[in-house]
């Protein structure tokens, strides 16, 4: 649940999602759900010449199970708060 809450905080920010097929999609985070499925707006594929498959797509839904990384904006993470939260969750509280 922690990362669900965390990603909800990031809504509206610009992120890059790298998939397990090496495709990287950049866009504005629109929403996240419990499976960490991600919806992006104003998307573009990072290597568009190599992968033109999504040239006519502006908004997309990415299945959580195929996400490898989410690259965050520089100000998208407060390490101290995240540390505390992960420790609290590990303790079961």
């Amino acid at each position: 649940m922690l990362f669900f809450s965390y990603f909800k905080e990031l809504v509206g920010k610009e992120v890059t999602v790298e998939l397990k097929n090496d495709l990287a999609i950049r866009g504005t985070l629109h929403s996240v759900d419990q499976y960490l499925n991600i919806k992006l707006e104003n998307t573009r594929v990072v290597d568009q010449d190599k992968y033109p498959h999504m040239l006519s797509v502006r908004n997309c839904f990415i299945r959580g199970s195929v996400v490898r990384y989410v690259l965050l904006p520089q100000d998208g993470v407060d390490i101290d708060i995240l540390h505390d939260a992960t420790r609290r969750e590990a303790r079961g509280g």
Binding site: N21, L23, S31, H53, M54, R58, N59
Partner: protein
């Protein structure tokens, strides 16, 4: 514009482009979906991105090659790769994107990577006959 909520509600009855885990690209109208991202696609087709070339100037190739062969015999050198790839460029054309009609399809959610909302205006402007792509890698979990 996608509405609130993370599901696919906002895309129902719209044209979507699905990328599957094995790297295929299927385009069709979204008719239904469920929690596991299983989806029902109507009037769908697969877009097959080719990496192959087709011969368009068949009559040109033998002349070019025999000239090159004679040239290389005279100069006692091999035909260069550079020349061969130039020949290929002159005589061949990229195959472009083929559209395979599939009809009504159900895709299991496990097998779906990305569901994209197709902007029909942008899509109409695409020159599919002249589009090349690296094959998408399969998803490895």
């Amino acid at each position: 514009m996608a509405s609130a909520g993370p599901g696919l509600e906002s895309l129902v009855d719209q044209i979507i482009s699905v990328i599957t885990n094995d790297g295929r690209n299927i385009v069709g109208t979204l008719r239904g979906f469920d929690q596991a991202t299983n989806i029902i696609l109507d009037e769908s087709h697969e877009r097959v991105y080719s990496t192959r070339y087709v011969l368009i100037n068949c009559d040109l190739l033998p002349g070019l090659l025999s000239n090159a062969l004679i040239g290389s015999l005279v100069q006692n050198s091999a035909i260069s790769n550079k020349f061969l790839s130039w020949c290929l460029k002159v005589c061949c054309q990229h195959e472009g994107v083929q559209q395979l009609v599939l009809g009504l399809y159900i895709i299991r959610g496990d097998n779906i990577s990305v569901v994209g909302e197709v902007d029909e205006e942008l899509d109409a402007r695409l020159d599919l006959s002249n589009l090349r792509a690296h094959p998408l890698k399969p998803v490895i979990h």
